[in-house]
Symmetry: C2
Subunit: 437 residues, 2 copies
Amino acid sequence: MRIERAVTYDVRFPTSLSGAGSDAMNPDPDYSAAYVVLETDDPGGLAGHGLTFTIGRGTEVCVAAIEALVPHVVGAPVDELLADLGGLWKRLVTDSQLRWLGPEKGVIHLATAAIVNAVWDLYAKRERKPLWKLLSDLPPERLVDCVDFRYIKDALTREEALALLRRSAATKAEREQRLLAEGFPAYTTSAGWIGYPEATLPALAREAVDAGFSHLKLKVGGDPEADLRRARLVRGAIGPGIRLSLDANQVWNVGDAVAAIERLAEVDPYWIEEPTSPDDIVGHKHIKDAVAPIKVATGEHVQNRVVFKQLLQLGAIDICQLDCCRLGGVNEVIAVVLLAAKFGVPVCPHAGGVGLCEYAQHISMFDYVSVSGTMDDRVCEFVDHLHEHFVDPVRVVGGRYAAPAAPGYSIEIRPETLSEFAFPDGPGWWTQEEVPA
Amino acid sequence: MRIERAVTYDVRFPTSLSGAGSDAMNPDPDYSAAYVVLETDDPGGLAGHGLTFTIGRGTEVCVAAIEALVPHVVGAPVDELLADLGGLWKRLVTDSQLRWLGPEKGVIHLATAAIVNAVWDLYAKRERKPLWKLLSDLPPERLVDCVDFRYIKDALTREEALALLRRSAATKAEREQRLLAEGFPAYTTSAGWIGYPEATLPALAREAVDAGFSHLKLKVGGDPEADLRRARLVRGAIGPGIRLSLDANQVWNVGDAVAAIERLAEVDPYWIEEPTSPDDIVGHKHIKDAVAPIKVATGEHVQNRVVFKQLLQLGAIDICQLDCCRLGGVNEVIAVVLLAAKFGVPVCPHAGGVGLCEYAQHISMFDYVSVSGTMDDRVCEFVDHLHEHFVDPVRVVGGRYAAPAAPGYSIEIRPETLSEFAFPDGPGWWTQEEVPA
């Protein structure tokens, strides 16, 4: 069986029309996907699906980058490809000319994620397992072979990674049972977008609590008075027993962040997310030291294992919010999950957008079963949006993700969606009155 | 006068056929440019030219990113655009949807550089000055208005930047005279590519010294024995009085870097360049502390002012090798030049490739005249390659860059080159026997 061709799609949803997904940095996202299907010559139609999440304009740039990278997989025998996923990763991230465009960051890395995740989707489908189960069943050596240890050996060696995985191996079965029975804890961002009017926040927050969520997130980083008003409204609506996190989406300088968080401390925030530039490791350390015991979280814009390594080495974050696309795909996600475990920092993946919840649930479940071994202080983000476009959408019940049962990485988009929201020519776009420029 | 249209080009040179430009990380670069011309309705044909440097495959991805960004300049009145270059920068780097693809890194930032540099080229041509002179003549307030202080205020405030510029203002005229009389010191990388056979190195190195260079650079990071042999050959050929720097192009882990540099210490290296990942600020600090007094240099892959800020805050580098494309263009280059001056770290810009020497000379000259005020320990990289394709190529005589006199940023490519090396259809490609895949 071979990868016969890679078919790419530019799929966009006109979400900016509703204010959903809005925050202080991203006022008008049109949730989008640069999507790729790796088709094989399997008579049963086996294919790998992958996407990288974007927020509108520029999705075509990611599609162009996917096209530039697919020669590394098209034509490859599937058995050989899946037998050496570490090798696949290295071919993609060290392509002798494309590497210049990163390295391992930005558009070329987002595109890498679409391909790498599609290969893992194909792998999981071939094994007839959901990705979390495939990862949890892989022997430690096989998992560690997928990790690129270049540039992180000073923080985590291959031997240390193996020891972490072996430590939890004996008790995996019982955690898997618990996961299947109880699901994995989620928190919700759906109630707190910055574009939502203040008057709607208390009811939305109560609805979330009534639905079973014990952890909510509110967007801040706008006008300081409005931030405080909105945070008080939400805290007032949910009471003291529910965790409330705040998300500033990178709008503050280091000094401003500390002052802003101190002003918001009265609402008892659990974590403050993206208080400043995702590139500012030293700045995060300064903020964390200043605002403790409020926790500092970041990761959705952290580009690779090298930056996470330093955030962990310096003790600059309390919560690791890795992103399944930003990091270039499953291999690097495994690396960061292992790094976080080494440093004892909980992984609470970034999700939302389109497809990120479908991806992230698998990573949290793998982390629970095979790496950290605990659900304590671990939550996977949930936003109730656009799931209807997936063949195997997430199921969140009582504030918890149910473990996916279908084979794959849950990222396959329904064919009718690929047509309807094809950009710019799909009817999902030309029937909108306000088509963005 | 308005920007009427932006015309993009994918220009590539088949340099991988000769081994020139080869190093331990980049064995086969085809030096390339994603190039943009901002055409105006000026009857005299005034236009701004800009490029971002790439090394082959993926140039089309950068061109796509330029196309995604040009709506921010096309249609703009030139006077308004040039009156608020800080505003232009912010529109480009905070585009509410494209920002997701970086932010301020990778492909979207490389593309930003092509546009920003084209606008500065247009500005300098309209003022009938070479860029270094335009920058040197701008009042401090005007220069500082171009800088984005978001995320760097904890290291450099607007007031501190103004003070730095005012400090050197009174003596600018005499430095300008000296620059025009003597030029600016260069160092050469032309003699030391890793793809060049050992036997050729001594003669190439001697030729460079005979041509007036007092500082050479050799690529290392290959087989450790070969590295040492090559370094000994070059040091033997040039004698002890000439500075010899080494460049590992990111191939080492942190621990390996320290060991490798210690092995090479016998050839008395001036600096070791890119010893590890450009993202590893903490790692650079560790290496610098371990290998002193050998200096640590990096920058050609450092993505923005936020990362340079931390390299400087932690004292992780001795030499700042900013890149005129990687950083997104002149505005961010000014920011980094000011940051480096604040921390007393010499700026020795990365150059080579295609067009980078043409760009970088202007930055070194501006830094000398208006910011650092000294040529001590400052050198601008020089590689004698592809200059014939420029309308106003660099002139390096006796190991020094002569100050450009023609208006603009020296980056305008000759029209016949744009045709001949258009990729993939130009005759510069189809007449090659070995056209890369």
